[in-house]
Symmetry: C2
Subunit: 214 residues, 2 copies
DNA sequence: AAATCTTTCCGTACATGTACGATGCAATGT
DNA sequence: ACATTGCATCGTACATGTACGGAAAGATTT
């Protein structure tokens, strides 16, 4: 069965879109993050500035696309740090996650620090969460810890707790770079150890359901 | 001794500056933090847009001023909730901090989730740390816990840990309102209890100094 | 083949932060 | 008294994200 007209067009559209993403990536690499502007991006691929909006809803959408790429490589990097000890494997997730956030603060801000009234591409947040390779690795490694008896409680609740602690740590470092946190790496390690030590001695019940009045 | 000419002028300047801060505060409350623009702010106080730059280096500087105000009112609210049990007093700090953030998400975003790349008014970050009233209350209550033998370790390190956990919790709730965290109050309480329980069984060494090569 | 509809592309326009420099006034020096 | 200097104020200008609507091209229907 040959490609229908619509699918061919959609494929073409996807190609142009990824061409734009690639150009955006290069712009960021060459001129830094603030060097990425719609006008430069359009000129780079030979379009008028407003044509970019045929492929991305707005600039955030472009940043989301960049972030998706980054998360994929993050997941790869995490998986390059396996361990027989499930707790050490979890530590590796936190460490690589922190390295990603501190190394790509703008992507991190875009994904985790700007209000998500509108998830990208019409995805649900749950879907977005599932589709995030890095988060999938986190949950699976938490499940490994629970299975090994190292942690007790609901894996999703444990993962969410780790997320909150890690996110608090990283976002504070990003937002207040002049605050006396000391060495960022050391601060991250301290918070990571603190959270894991707490989780190893406490039981995490599942998250309560949202009351039905919302 | 009468005021010298310079000091009188400086006082006038400070008055105009705080008038601008007040107007900025109202703008944020009324229209959200994206409603705060230089032009609106200038119009509100009857100046030309560029005149704002006589009192603030840039928009970030305005946000810093708002942050200082917010820290002060937060400290006041905290001190309205004392307790004989030092741990309960600490819990009150966390609860008030969370209530402040969840009750004023726009202000919270402005103050705690907008990048602060440069310390305000040429202050050292250590000075900024000391001058922060909310942090001072938090640290003093942590010190009370340490003195009472309820917590062990460096008070500033413990306080920073609590801040990171609290901030992570609140900023996630603000940023991902549709994520199934469950009831926000319950999630806050869970994270607060988790952090305090961890701190009661762990020792917190002082934060490492930033290496001298920076 | 013609008409209609859909999608893609872009020209124009507006609000924003802020760099640069002019203008006028007050303080200071001679 | 006059010149100079410094500073508060602001007019203009530029790059930016993006809303709006038009134009052009292609697909679909009649």
């Amino acid at each position: 069965m040959p490609l229908s007209v619509q699918t061919r067009r959609e494929k073409q559209k996807a190609e142009l879109r990824s061409e734009l993403v690639e150009a955006a990536h290069k712009l960021v690499q060459e001129e830094g993050y603030e060097g990425l502007t719609i006008r430069k991006l359009a000129k780079r691929v030979g379009y008028a500035p407003m044509s970019v909006y045929s492929y991305f809803a707005d600039k955030q959408d472009i940043l989301f696309a960049l972030a998706e790429d980054a998360f994929e490589t993050l997941a790869q990097r995490i998986e390059e740090h396996p361990s027989d000890d499930p707790i050490e494997a979890l530590q590796a997730v936190m460490t690589e996650y922190a390295a990603f956030g501190l190394g790509n603060p703008n992507e991190y801000r875009t994904v985790f620090m700007t209000e998500k009234t509108r998830p990208p591409g019409g995805k649900t947040f749950a879907e977005m969460h599932e589709a995030n390779p890095a988060m999938k690795v986190l949950i699976s490694r938490v499940e490994a810890c629970v299975a090994a008896g190292k942690l007790k409680g609901d894996p999703r609740a444990i993962a969410t707790t780790l997320w909150a602690v890690g996110h608090g740590t990283i976002s504070l470092l990003i937002t207040f770079p002049f605050y006396p946190f000391g060495d960022p790496q050391a601060f991250v390690k301290r918070m990571c150890d603190f959270a894991l030590a707490g989780l190893m001695t406490q039981d995490m019940p599942p998250l309560t359901e949202t009351p039905p009045n919302c």
